[in-house]
Amino acid sequence: MRDRLIFAAQFAFTLLVAAFLIVPAVLSMLAGVTLNYFRGIQSGLTLQWVVQVWELYSETIFRSFLIAITTLAVTLIVGIPAAYALHLRSDRLSRAIEEVITLPLAIPGLALALALLLSYGGFSDFRRSWLFILAGHSVFTLPFMVRSVMAMFGAIDVKTLDEGAASLGAPPWRRFRDVIVPNAAPGILAGSLMVVTLSLGEFNLTWMLHTPLTKTLPVGLADSYASMRLEVASAYTLVFFVMIIPLLVAMQTFARYRGNPAALPR
């Protein structure tokens, strides 16, 4: 009896905390499909705000995806070989490089953006293109990819696998392609989902780096909060949620299999 009471109390508390976090998100999304938020839900439901957001901001949505995907490509191409090299070599230099790669995590996005602006702002074509934002996102997300892949390499004893493949005659790139990458796949996948999610949602850095012609989704969101009616901003939030939630769910799912490729569903 006492146990059940305790359980019930705990359960109620958990629900309360969850509600505290979830209710604002639900309200915000609901506002996006309400005809007039100040009159409440009885004013009727509509998709007109969503349509309006699409008309005004669809460009930012596509740009965000373009940047997220290219950021992913960059972090894959740079990050996996870097993680491989850093894992195999355990000298001081590689530890130092690892720290440097991780540094952007500790630096505020604004400072990072400022540094990029100071260094490369003078190249005006580059400054004006979305590639400038890509550069920022790549620097910012690279540590997540490298860390994630390195953790995987640590879990699968990649050195011995590499030596095993080498003993069978495989040159370095074949070992990398046939053995290292496939066995690190769960780590690479987890890193990829993280990179895409971070890039899609990144605001600080992007806000500093964007131009009126290179707005991304979160920057557009801030823009709509500042200058549009609340329903439009909320509809925008709804669009953002719909896109980011499946990614987060996928990330959670694969995070569970990290370090244990054998447990992956096949």
Binding site: T160, E163, G164, A165, G169, V179, N183, P261
Partner: protein
């Protein structure tokens, strides 16, 4: 060398030499002093020693996974391969942890080396089937690695290493990860397999019974140096040092005094053959294996002592006999002999079984 069975289809591989191979790691630890080793074509050489003796480092240098320090050379059939990376040495290697690829099934693992060499699918399939049969893992071809038992993984690792018809087969403690009963069974299988293949094999182990069973020659290593090279019989019956005598098999190592053709112990004396120069009194260290000592009636025996402890091991019993030498002498007695603590017994030792060890040896 021991004669080989005929009718092997895999060739006999290459002769392997390591010349003046030393290895000092980046952190300054010297894993291997300057070591020179010659392995004849087709023979099985076992590198035996306690952990940290440099045996694995020497194997890795021969494999091409480590470079020897300047001055060291590795030769395959008299060709210098010191700077050739492992992937171009055509070796077959079995790792202690097997290093099987979890992303491939059993057949793909075994066939990987052939795939790298550009062998076409049909030929590859045939070779894989051949090795699956040879190592007795039929029916497991499509299993994933994590679905295999330890013994099965060991066989897959061996099949994979042999599939490419390597010039030399290198095995790094291949049985260590298995439990004792399985280890013994696989040792027998491995022995048959190595004899069938007749390929040059270098086998690293810390287990002296594995070394005895598998090696044509055994290289006993200690602290980065070779302590002795010989056939299993040489190593067992004629150890070059106290270390080898103690590391390989059970041994009584006792101090005695050599006096006029006899070895004099506190408990009596033994006739000695060709020990020392026969002049005057000399302190010596001798080794006697427990199984070469017989328990006889105390009356009239050359050596006498008292049973201090008896442990019955089933097929025999091991008795500790005190009062013969400075420390108790271990004797393997037949299991039918009634022995109990406190009995006064005599010991008979065949003079040929007494091995004089270098006095200052460790």
């Amino acid at each position: 060398m021991i004669a080989r069975s005929s009718g092997n289809a895999d060739g006999h591989g290459v002769a392997v030499s390591a010349e003046n191979c030393a290895k000092t790691f980046a952190d300054g630890t010297q894993a291997l002093g300057s070591v020179t080793l010659d392995v004849e074509r087709g023979e099985t050489v076992v590198l035996l020693g306690p952990s940290g003796c440099g045996k694995t480092t020497l194997l890795r240098i021969i494999a091409g996974l480590e470079h020897p320090d300047a001055g060291g050379r590795v030769l395959f059939n008299k060709t210098d391969v010191t700077r050739v990376p492992i992937e171009r040495r055509n070796v077959g290697m079995v790792f202690q942890s097997y290093a099987l690829f979890p992303n491939m099934n059993v057949a793909e693992n075994i066939g990987y080396g052939l795939k790298i060499r550009g062998v076409n699918g049909a030929e590859r399939g045939a070779r894989v089937a051949e090795l699956v049969a040879l190592t007795g893992i039929e029916g497991l071809e499509h299993r994933r690695i994590d679905q295999l038992s330890g013994g099965q993984r060991q066989r897959v690792a061996l099949a994979r290493a042999v599939a490419v018809r390597p010039s030399v087969l290198l095995l790094d403690e291949p049985l260590t990860a298995l439990d004792a009963a399985l280890r013994e069974r696989l040792r027998g299988e491995l022995n048959r397999l190595l004899r069938t293949l007749g390929i040059t094999t270098i086998y690293v182990t810390h287990d002296q019974s594995e070394a005895m069973a598998l090696g044509d020659h055994i290289v006993v290593m200690r602290k980065g140096a070779i302590a002795q090279i010989g056939t299993p019989r040489d190593i067992y019956f004629a150890p070059a040092s106290r270390f080898v005598a103690e590391f390989v098999g059970a041994a009584n190592i006792v101090e005695a005094e050599y006096r006029d053709g006899s070895l004099v112990f506190p408990g009596g004396k033994l006739a000695a053959t060709a020990a020392g120069d026969g002049k005057g009194k000399e302190p010596v260290v001798v080794m006697i294996r427990p199984e070469s000592i017989k328990i006889v009636p105390a009356d009239g025996a050359a050596l006498c002592g008292q049973v201090e402890a008896v442990s019955f091991v089933g097929d025999r019993q091991r008795a500790a006999i005190g009062g013969v030498a400075a420390k108790a002498i271990m004797v393997d007695a037949p299991n039918s002999l009634p022995l109990k603590t406190g009995d006064r017994v005599g010991l008979a030792v065949d003079p040929g079984a007494v091995r004089l060890l270098p006095g200052d040896s460790q």
